[in-house]
């Protein structure tokens, strides 16, 4: 049975179809979820070190849109068209989702220009860009809450609300302290995860040896609150064409004190044009 990697065995056991055209089917298998049975009330932390973990953001965005959830995407790093074009490769149209009200998209780059060069009458979610000293992220929280709180007519159009942030480290670069960002995450979790029974996914960069204390504080603080941590790392030996990095998945239970160890799995991956393939360490098809 040479060449049978772990993901293939799991697919056989679960009987899931491996040919779905949306998001990354192999990652769904690794995480043991499908859009139909997405969990609720969870905080997922995405973390990347020495590599680019943005493919995980694209995965969760299309995953939750496929799962018929209402998504509020705070996209601070790239433009709308970038996410839209990648999402189309994964089988989801962000423009259509926005039209029908399923997606609320805050485009950080474009909004920052608006708020920076012109004084706004209403408090803008990125109001802190105009402030001289470090403020807080309350306007951003208000924006998220307003976006995800269901309308008063009582009819639940969408499954559960989801907040997606790409990424939190940018907020630190823009002058927010780690405490302010942790407060923001705390408020969002209270509203989105506990009150509205939704999910939250956030990406934080791990600066590694760059001695970024604020970032480390943020990362450690979030790690303790998360239910699921997906950590992508570049290979320690440097660049490789066939293996782009390593993904470590850690399932946690933040509410209970863990006397026993949390479950964790490690895989290596290669990113392709429309998909990411995962394999056990050292089992890359290019090497076998």
């Amino acid at each position: 049975m040479k060449g049978m990697h772990l993901p293939d065995i799991r697919m056989l056991l679960q009987g899931a179809s491996p040919r779905s055209s949306e998001m990354f089917p192999e990652l769904n298998n690794l995480l043991n979820t499908t859009p139909d049975k997405a969990e609720q009330g969870k905080l997922t932390l995405l973390c990347d070190a020495r590599t680019d973990g943005s493919f995980l953001v694209h995965h969760f965005l299309s995953f939750y849109l496929k799962a018929n959830c209402k998504v509020c995407f705070v996209a601070l790093l790239q433009s709308f068209s970038h996410y839209n074009i990648v999402a189309q490769k994964l089988g989801v149209s962000l423009a259509a989702a926005r039209e029908r009200g399923q997606l609320v998209f805050l485009e950080g780059l474009k909004s920052s220009v608006d708020v920076f060069f012109q004084a706004q009458e209403d408090p803008h979610p990125l109001q802190f860009l105009r402030e001289a000293s470090a403020g807080n992220l309350q306007p951003l929280y208000e924006f998220v809450r307003e976006a995800l709180t269901p309308a008063d007519n009582g009819a639940a159009a969408w499954r559960c609300p989801v907040l997606l942030v790409d990424d939190l480290s940018v907020l630190l670069s823009l002058g927010m302290g780690a405490v302010a960002v942790l407060d923001f995450v705390h408020y969002c979790r209270a509203t989105v995860c506990c009150e509205l029974k939704g999910n939250m996914v956030a990406l934080v960069h791990d600066s590694g040896d760059a001695e970024d204390e604020e970032n480390n504080t943020l990362l450690i603080g979030l790690s303790h609150q998360s239910h699921l941590i997906l950590r992508t790392e570049g290979l320690a030996t440097g660049f490789c064409k066939d293996v782009h990095g390593q993904l470590r998945i850690l399932w946690r239970r933040p509410s209970q004190s863990t006397a026993r160890r949390d479950r964790s799995l490690t895989f290596q991956y290669k990113i392709q044009d429309k998909n990411v393939s995962f394999f056990a360490r050292g089992m890359s098809p290019a090497i076998l």
Partner: protein
């Protein structure tokens, strides 16, 4: 100078420019403040701008950096709407060259330039741009090199056989290319070319002397003024398509020299715990926001070797799109190392953006060295160094792997 040509429209999402022509053949942007790249309106027709070409991978509009070898390393060129950050070498000897190549390429292509500097008058910078190489003279230049290298290229590599098949980095001049030109650094650009070109200069000491009311913000005043200046030019000249009077079909090339120096009023290079530690990263974020919504590309050189707080370098890297670092051998132990005697320094491609895509065009070769010859700045893969020294009987073991290189342990005799 903008050549107007229509290209076939592909699937809606993967087209590169929102400079759409409406059905009645009047060129205009379709809506106020459009995004400069990508479009979700169906079937735009592309207007071809001089000096640009669409990327093979994702239809992104690319401009040349002025160095064809660097264009190839970056996956075809610099994407419009992005920032190229050049980490300066230690004594800032070679990074001004990359800066000048970028600007010279803009002049040759008829792009509008915006040059910002705190230490040199932009008019002086433009006077010192290199002259473009005409096709036959630069062909002669390359022929000289080919003759010199012929003996080496015939030798079969016995141990490093894997490298035999990898492509050479040097790119010969294509005689009829409109994308990417070669320049002669020993000559100055003709004055007529500068006079006919359109450029805006931002010289910080001049701008700071005028007593404008600057709104209090955590940005240093120098950065504030520069941002307002750039935003003004983009709006006034219609690069973002929001000005109904101006229909611009040209690229704005922005060059910011030595950002982060104390001359800008920023103390990020002075101490580790600086007061305005967020000023630089905030500036970059808003600059990138301006670029993303306009037809512009920007090169920034930054003396990162002076920044003592490594966290700031990491943040600045994350907030830039393409990052290239130059490391010159001047004053270092490598200057006398026989390995590197033909080269002036190393060039590291630290980051390439993944735009509209999950993957990017990373070059397989990570060890690149540069050399400033009498007229040309060339980039070569580092293994050619070893090959040349092999026949001279030197023996050495390649050093330990680092994060941005292949791990190697070949011994050549």
């Amino acid at each position: 100078m903008a050549a107007v040509a229509t290209c076939g429209a592909g699937a809606g999402g993967t087209e590169s420019m929102a400079a759409a022509t409406s059905k009645s053949n009047v060129t205009s942007f379709q809506r106020r403040g459009p995004r400069a790249r990508g479009t979700d309106s169906g079937g735009p027709r592309l207007v071809s701008i001089a000096g640009t070409r669409p990327s093979v991978r994702n239809g992104q509009l690319l401009v040349s950096t002025g160095l064809p070898a660097l264009d190839q390393l970056l996956g075809g060129g610099l994407a419009v709407g992005t920032v190229l950050l050049v980490e300066e070498d230690k004594y800032s000897i070679y990074s001004p060259l990359l800066f000048k190549y970028f600007l010279a390429e803009g002049i040759i292509n008829g792009h509008t330039l915006l040059v910002a500097s705190a230490k040199e008058d932009p008019a002086d910078i433009l006077q010192e741009l290199p002259a473009p190489l005409l096709d036959d003279s630069c062909k002669k230049e390359f022929d000289e090199d080919v003759c010199n290298k012929k003996p080496e290229s015939d030798i079969k590599m016995k141990i490093a056989w894997r490298y035999q098949l990898s492509p050479k980095m040097e790119v010969g001049p294509v005689t009829s290319s409109r994308f990417g030109h070669y320049y002669d650094v020993s000559k100055r650009i003709p004055r007529e070319l500068i006079e006919t070109s359109k450029w805006h200069g931002f010289f910080l000491p001049e701008k700071m002397s005028s007593a404008d009311k600057v709104e209090c913000c955590s940005l240093t005043p120098g950065y504030m003024k520069l941002l307002h200046f750039i935003q003004n030019i983009i709006y006034e000249e219609g690069f973002d398509g929001s000005n109904p009077q101006k229909k611009q079909r040209n690229i704005l090339r922005i060059g910011i020299q030595s950002l982060g120096l104390p001359l800008w009023g920023d103390d990020v290079c002075c101490s580790e715990n600086c007061d305005s530690s967020h000023s630089l990263s905030k500036f970059l974020y808003i600059l990138r926001g301006l670029l993303r919504t306009s037809l512009s590309a920007c090169i920034i050189t930054m003396p990162t070797h002076l920044i003592q707080n490594k966290a700031i370098i990491a943040r600045v890297t994350n907030l830039s799109d393409t990052v290239v670092a130059l490391e010159s051998f001047v004053g270092s132990e490598r200057e006398t190392n026989p390995l590197y005697k033909d080269y002036h320094g190393l060039i590291h491609i630290r980051q390439i953006p993944r735009l509209n895509n999950l993957i990017c065009d990373e070059s397989d070769v990570k060890d690149l060295a540069f050399k400033l010859k009498r007229k040309l700045f060339t980039i070569e893969a580092e293994w050619t160094v070893r090959e040349r020294d092999r026949e001279k009987g030197l023996s050495f073991v390649v050093g330990s792997p680092s994060n941005d290189r292949h791990g190697r342990c070949t011994t050549l005799i």
